[in-house]
């Protein structure tokens, strides 16, 4: 059964179209990623999902509910962690937890949630004294405090250090393992690659691709990349004349050769013929990053 169904969602703010045409479905128990560059329409899509905004056109159904009409029921069953939402500075972690628990029919065990998020010893700490990672973890705890069936997490790891980021990822997997369907909004590729079962790539207010992370990478083609520092200058044409090579780029002293097939063999033999030594030779497989750039045709800002 589909937990979330979005069909031909369209939303504009005055003259700007935030979401042109977005459709996707999310299945029970998966981590579904909404990926896209900044300003692609991710947050608006999520706001329509959670009933914070009314779509101009199209339909949204979450747990069989209409997010606008069945607003109260939806809020009981969907936990949301939003960007740019904070708590009062002088509220303590424990107070926020108790307060938010009182809003729900089936509140989760607050003590266990704090323990799971490593915030137990911060119970009495005021919000303003928490670090960025702790604030983010508290936001996740509050999104889970109503024992939701669906958790929507928007730009979860923004501003976290690599250690905190990894811990947060473990946490999201843990949440999913407890049977919660997770919608994860992100523009961080390794986050999407590591966590998501399926991804919707949104760009310019449209879904440009909908697949598993591996499927998206495959879609871009089995391109390899060869990166090395030639001991002396190499005429680009030596390489571009090879059938395997599709592009040659200079990045400082490094040459980056992109291509298909037996690229490594072809390039190294040409170099050997011309007695050019290749230092620091590395072969890179296409990643979700490449897929993202190819499919959105722009750099992540």
């Amino acid at each position: 059964m589909n937990i979330i169904e979005v069909t031909n969602l369209h939303k504009r703010y005055g003259p700007t179209t935030a979401v042109e045409d977005v459709s996707f479905t999310v299945e029970a128990g998966e981590i579904f990623g909404i990926l896209g560059p900044n300003g692609a329409g991710k947050t608006t899509t999520v706001e329509c999902l959670t009933g914070l905004r009314a779509p101009d056109r199209g339909t949204v159904s979450v747990l069989g509910l209409d997010p606008r009409r069945d607003r109260d029921e939806l809020r009981q069953r969907v936990g949301v962690q939003l960007q740019e939402s904070r708590l009062p500075d002088r509220q303590t972690v424990g107070e926020a937890m108790d307060l938010y628990r009182s809003f729900y029919r089936r509140p989760a065990d607050g003590g266990r949630l704090l323990e799971m998020l490593g915030l137990t010893d911060k119970r009495k700490a005021q919000y303003r004294t928490l670090s960025g990672g702790q604030k983010q973890r508290l936001a996740i705890a509050l999104a889970l405090v109503g024992s939701p069936e669906v958790a929507v997490l928007d730009e979860l790891t923004t501003g976290l250090d690599p250690q905190a980021r990894r811990e947060t990822w473990d946490l999201v997997e843990h949440v999913r393992d407890q049977g919660v369907t997770v919608v994860l909004v992100t523009h961080v590729m390794d986050e999407a690659e590591r966590l998501c079962d399926r991804l919707a790539l949104i760009d310019g207010g449209r879904v440009t691709a909908l697949d598993t992370p591996a499927g998206l990478v495959e879609r871009v083609g089995a391109q390899h990349r060869l990166r090395f520092r030639p001991a002396e200058a190499v005429d680009d044409r030596l390489l571009t004349d090879l059938p395997e090579v599709s592009a040659v780029q200079h990045q400082g002293a490094q040459l980056v050769v992109t291509g298909t097939g037996n690229l490594v063999q072809a390039v190294t033999s040409v170099l050997a013929q011309h007695h050019v030594v290749a230092h620091d030779l590395r072969v890179e497989q296409a990643s979700l990053d490449d897929a993202f750039l190819t499919l959105t045709d722009r750099r992540i800002p």
Partner: protein, 253 residues
């Protein structure tokens, strides 16, 4: 109801943890009145003040000072901060509508105002020999309506100000105007008659408070102001109109 109770308790805690609002809004009016009362001349009956001592004539102004801090500084700044930092947005993703948070804020403000008022009346009575309000029901009515109108103004500022900075600026401006009209900065007998007449209707209604407390007119008994109930009625109307505008215009984010 349950959520509103919990929210109100939470907001009371937050209010008490903010030393500036507690001091300026709740303790300062009584402290200032007691400080001025320490000057012997200000405890002597004076003709300028309708035959009562300065401290008695000025006590409602001291109260207005605190009510103004609560309604025109605390409320707009807290609400604008809550909006700007996404506290209201966070709340709107839960089963509880963020309006419950605003209602809790207003209850806290009312509570703080009642405590501030009780402190001023009690310290004036116990320490400065100012009699208790002579027309208690009318005093309470003036207090509630005057503060309600002030609170409506504060909420309207919070409702429409696009940023925290602007909310703070507008709130401070309104505060200074309300305090000036209330005779906080300048005794009313020094003000032009026209201004005195208008100021009878400016929240929190210092003249109405004074009249129901001491039975003297604010302008020193020379120019009898408009009837008490007219002052209170007009402020009540103002509270309803301004409060209604605030509710209609309120931006949640």
């Amino acid at each position: 109801m349950h959520a509103l109770t919990r929210l109100t308790i939470a907001e009371v805690r937050l209010f008490l943890r903010d030393p500036v609002s507690v001091f300026l809004g709740v303790l300062f009016p009584a402290a200032l009145l007691l400080g001025l009362g320490a000057i012997p001349a200000l405890r002597e009956p004076a003709d300028e003040f309708g035959g009562v001592p300065f401290v008695e004539a000025w006590a409602p102004a001291a109260l207005a000072l605190g009510l103004g801090i609560i309604a025109l500084q605390q409320i707009p700044v807290v609400v604008a901060t809550y909006r700007e930092r996404g506290v209201l947005r966070r709340m709107s993703t839960t089963p509880v509508h963020p309006s419950a948070m605003l209602a809790a804020q207003l209850l806290v403000a009312l509570g703080a105002a009642v405590v501030a008022g009780a402190l001023v009346v009690a310290s004036a009575w116990l320490v400065l020999d100012v009699p208790l309000p002579q027309r208690p029901l009318e005093f309470v009515a003036s207090f509630v309506v005057g503060f309600g109108a002030l609170l409506a103004l504060g909420t309207l500022i919070a409702a429409v100000a696009p940023s925290l900075r602007l909310a703070t600026g507008l709130a401070t401006f309104t505060y200074v105007v309300a305090m000036f009209a209330g005779g906080v900065f300048l005794p009313q007998f020094l003000m032009p008659d026209a201004l005195v007449r208008v100021s009878a209707y400016v929240p929190p209604g210092v003249q109405a408070l004074l009249e129901s407390w001491s039975g003297v007119a604010a302008a020193g008994g020379t120019a009898a102001g408009p009837p008490l109930m007219l002052q209170v009625g007009i402020m009540a109307l103002l509270a309803v109109v301004v409060g209604g505008a605030a509710a209609t215009l309120f931006r949640w984010e």
